[in-house]
């Protein structure tokens, strides 16, 4: 029976028939179609959310299949863009959902185009530069967004409601120099699912307009060491915050806070220059990359790593050269996977 598709969810009293009707009229924008994005897109599409848009710049690789649940060996063999493979699979799961996969870098211009109509934004990115951009845009356009991230057996999530909760810029105060990423420290699939479980539950509450039920706290956990905690954050709301305080400059909407990329003239090489000079611990990064099976050479000021298709050379100040490509978006995605 097709018409009882959502019956078990409607039976759940907090959603009910009224909540289900609301879900069908709502739109969600998911930024990133990796592990977090795959899983939350699948749950939301199955739940009957009317419109789901998912943005990603990357293509499917074999190292994704252990945890990125929308993709198959075939997708990895043919190197299908994640947004395309995700759209196809999601439409097979629920043909009544309006699913759009967008193959592109999540820039300010692109995000603005898609987030205007969204009722909630789900963070499934792998780097803080995009998250801070998302944070500025969400506060500026007054749209709730749900931070989520995972690494190893750990993960965290926080729901940002503009004008009510602190924003990500209040909590972190500046762009982290180097976030921990799955490519350097590894990841187990349950950590992904745990983050998504919290993100999607919060999204459902927002979509059916049950804001009273939102968690309010900053959740973090480590499944392997059996730790699960939440931090109260209301006092973190900073009146001097550049994003959500009394005088707002929206620092991440400005060009100078963006990573610069350029194809080097006459070479199959893309140069990446971070917005602020970093001071990276190359020796430490080399160690963790070696542990994950990468071939790495390291000198005090320079690290060179062999990736599947490319060689990436990283300098202490965060500048990098990605060899054997002229594709700026692709080069940036490799860079973010290593440095977050």
């Amino acid at each position: 029976m097709k018409d009882n598709r959502y019956s078990r969810q409607v039976l759940f009293p907090q959603i009910g028939a009224a909540g289900q009707e609301k879900l069908q009229k709502k739109q969600v924008l998911i930024v990133g179609a990796g592990a977090l994005g795959s899983s939350s897109a699948e749950m939301l599409v199955r739940a009957g959310v009317g419109k789901v848009t998912i943005i990603d710049r990357d293509y499917v690789e074999f190292s994704n299949l252990q945890r990125q649940q929308l993709y198959t060996e075939e997708d990895a063999t043919s190197r299908v863009p994640k947004a395309i493979a995700a759209e196809k699979r999601l439409k097979e799961i629920n043909s009544s959902a309006a699913v759009t996969g967008v193959v592109a870098e999540a820039t300010k211009e692109l995000l603005e185009q898609y987030l205007i109509d969204a009722d909630v934004l789900i963070d499934a990115t792998d780097n803080f530069e995009t998250r801070m951009l998302l944070n500025d845009l969400a506060v500026y356009h007054h749209i709730p967004w749900i931070y989520g991230a995972c690494v190893g057996s750990s993960g965290m999530s926080f729901t940002i409601i503009p004008e009510e909760t602190p924003c990500l810029n209040c909590l972190l105060q500046k762009l982290p120099v180097q976030g921990m990423t799955c490519d350097t420290v590894g990841i187990i699939a349950p950590a992904v699912q745990m983050v998504v479980t919290h993100q999607v539950t919060e999204a459902l509450k927002i979509l059916i307009e049950d804001r009273q039920a939102l968690r309010g706290s900053f959740l973090h956990f480590d499944l392997w060491s059996n730790a699960y905690s939440s931090m109260k954050v209301s006092r973190a709301k900073n009146p001097a915050c550049q994003t959500c305080g009394t005088e707002r400059s929206y620092p991440y909407l400005k060009g100078e806070n963006k990573t610069k990329t350029a194809v080097l003239c006459g070479r199959e090489t893309v140069q990446i220059r971070p917005s602020h000079a970093k001071k990276l611990s190359l020796i430490k990064l080399a160690d963790s990359l070696k542990k994950n099976g990468y071939k790495v050479m390291v000198h005090p000021f320079l690290l060179s790593v062999e990736l599947e298709q490319n060689r990436l050379v990283l300098f202490e100040d965060g500048r990098a050269l990605v060899h054997d490509t002229k594709d700026v978006t692709y080069a940036k995605s490799l860079y973010d996977k290593l440095l977050g």
Binding site: G37, A124, N127, V177
Partner: protein
């Protein structure tokens, strides 16, 4: 006496998920500086700190029996 908790990648650097240290009377900033001396690899600059499961600022003072947690911003997705 205080309990210090280390989450995600931090516990691998400290080699423990918690330490018992007396930090009473110190500010969060001073606690971080002390840890940074002992563990030079500890990236405490962009780490969030919670005292008794509540967000703490750098100038907050540690009291007896406070539990101090360090939560690094995780980026993977």
């Amino acid at each position: 006496m205080n309990k210090l908790l280390f989450f995600a990648g931090l516990k691998d650097i400290v080699n423990a998920d918690q330490l018992e240290l007396d930090m009473v009377g110190k500010t969060v900033k001073e606690v971080k500086a002390e840890l940074a001396q002992q563990y030079s690899d500890l990236p405490l600059e962009s780490v969030m700190t919670a005292i008794n499961e509540e967000f703490a600022f750098d100038d907050d003072l540690i009291e007896e029996n406070d539990v101090i947690a360090f939560i690094p911003p995780v980026s993977g997705g």
